[in-house]
Subunit: 222 residues, 2 copies
DNA sequence: TAATGTGAATCGTTTCACAGCG
DNA sequence: CGCTGTGAAACGATTCACATTA
């Protein structure tokens, strides 16, 4: 029992389910007892239809006519998506961004334990004050292996990103969060998520350009 | 002429085109003269087919039989996606993350000028050393309006995220990059991109759980 | 021959519409 | 009657297959 979803949940649904999950956490905190798909949709900006379908991928859980029980739905999603599972993480690159992440409490509160930080500069390792154990970068794969770290956060300069990824993968990392603007080559089964500020700015910029183009068109033809 | 793409470029294509663009920048730097769709695909982890279709949304530009000229393709994409356009940005929330962003050179190098930083703590405004002009948070909408800032980066604690977004939107911001884990309510035409570390960790964790589930299944049935 | 550009087929996701249930 | 859960239709993106051209 309590088996995880082998169910095929579409990726976009997964993203929405996680958003729903976190909203439910918040509602639980605020002592809200029940909620409907349309209410969830209104707050999160999704369609109610979509939410019902997303939720239903994980099996039935709602009350016909009476919406969802907040606590029950939260547990339901959490169990099915394996969010009850704690995972170890590490941060590579201890510049401003990296140290910010090292000390980011939200990670721990959500079951992600940062158990190691790495940097190539010994100097930095000695001057940073943190409760997380720090290591020189050349020990990455060794430490990842020894500690059973599953998630690696890359916060190094662009040039060092691929090498960092390689070391993490050597150590048996299973997922990477990449803050550098470098596109990492997919390798083994390692999952990669890119959190690239400049890239996101470019996407925004492009969408804005399109909007401007559309406006011009409407104005011209209107 | 030189009109921006009113063309309907699918969102996923857009993301890939931007990745291609940045790779081309790098290749230009390395004096590579020409490149084929399959080479681009190999490096970026996309299928060659896909890349050709993406590029062709913007019109013909390649040489039949001889691939793409690096410089020409780069310019082609850049012009069509409006990447030649410079845009002003601001950062709200000057904790570790916010100050990291304030001083992140890559933004400027890619045409995104950070022209203001905001924080609710006057103390912080006085102690941070940066070349960017700093303001108290209550002046957000005023400064955004006055300076014509188009992109706002939110790096405040979760609780303050929605209020920050509201102020930015009041000032006429056009796009928001949200580093906080709060789902911002869509409003007006403002585009929102979420860069949420905890959320991404959860996505990874879920994908890993699924993988584990699949493994168990294979092992059990194999 | 080698690679692009593109209609057509396929695949996956979202939306719709409504049956089913409290 | 209100809201969930879900097949079916509609939509959008990817992949395929090939005609096209230096």
């Amino acid at each position: 029992m309590r088996r995880n979803a082998q169910i095929n949940v579409p990726h976009p649904s997964l993203t929405r389910l996680l958003a729903i999950y976190r909203l439910l956490e918040q509602m639980e905190h605020e002592n809200v007892k029940s909620v409907s798909s349309s209410e969830l949709g209104r707050v999160l900006g999704f369609k109610a239809d979509s939410i019902r379908k997303d939720v239903s991928y994980l099996g039935e859980v709602g009350n016909f006519g009476g919406g969802y029980e907040v606590l029950k739905l939260k547990e339901h999603i959490g169990t099915n998506l394996g969010l009850d599972r704690k995972r170890k993480a590490c941060v590579v690159g201890l510049g401003r961004l990296g140290t910010a992440i090292l000390n980011y409490d939200d990670l721990g509160e959500n079951g992600f334990l940062v158990v190691a930080g790495f940097d190539s500069s010994i100097n930095k390792l000695e001057t940073i004050t943190t409760s997380v154990e720090l290591f020189p970068a050349h020990e990455i794969s060794e430490v990842v292996k020894k500690k059973g770290i599953e998630i690696g956060v890359i916060a190094v300069p662009s040039k060092a990103a691929q090498e960092t990824a390689d070391r993490l993968i050597d150590g048996g990392i299973r997922g990477i969060i990449n803050f550098s603007p470098t596109a990492l080559k997919p390798k083994n089964n390692v999952m990669i998520r890119n959190l690239d500020l400049v890239g996101e700015c470019m996407i925004l910029s492009t969408l804005l350009s399109f909007e401007e183009g559309a406006d011009r068109n409407e104005t011209a033809s209107g």
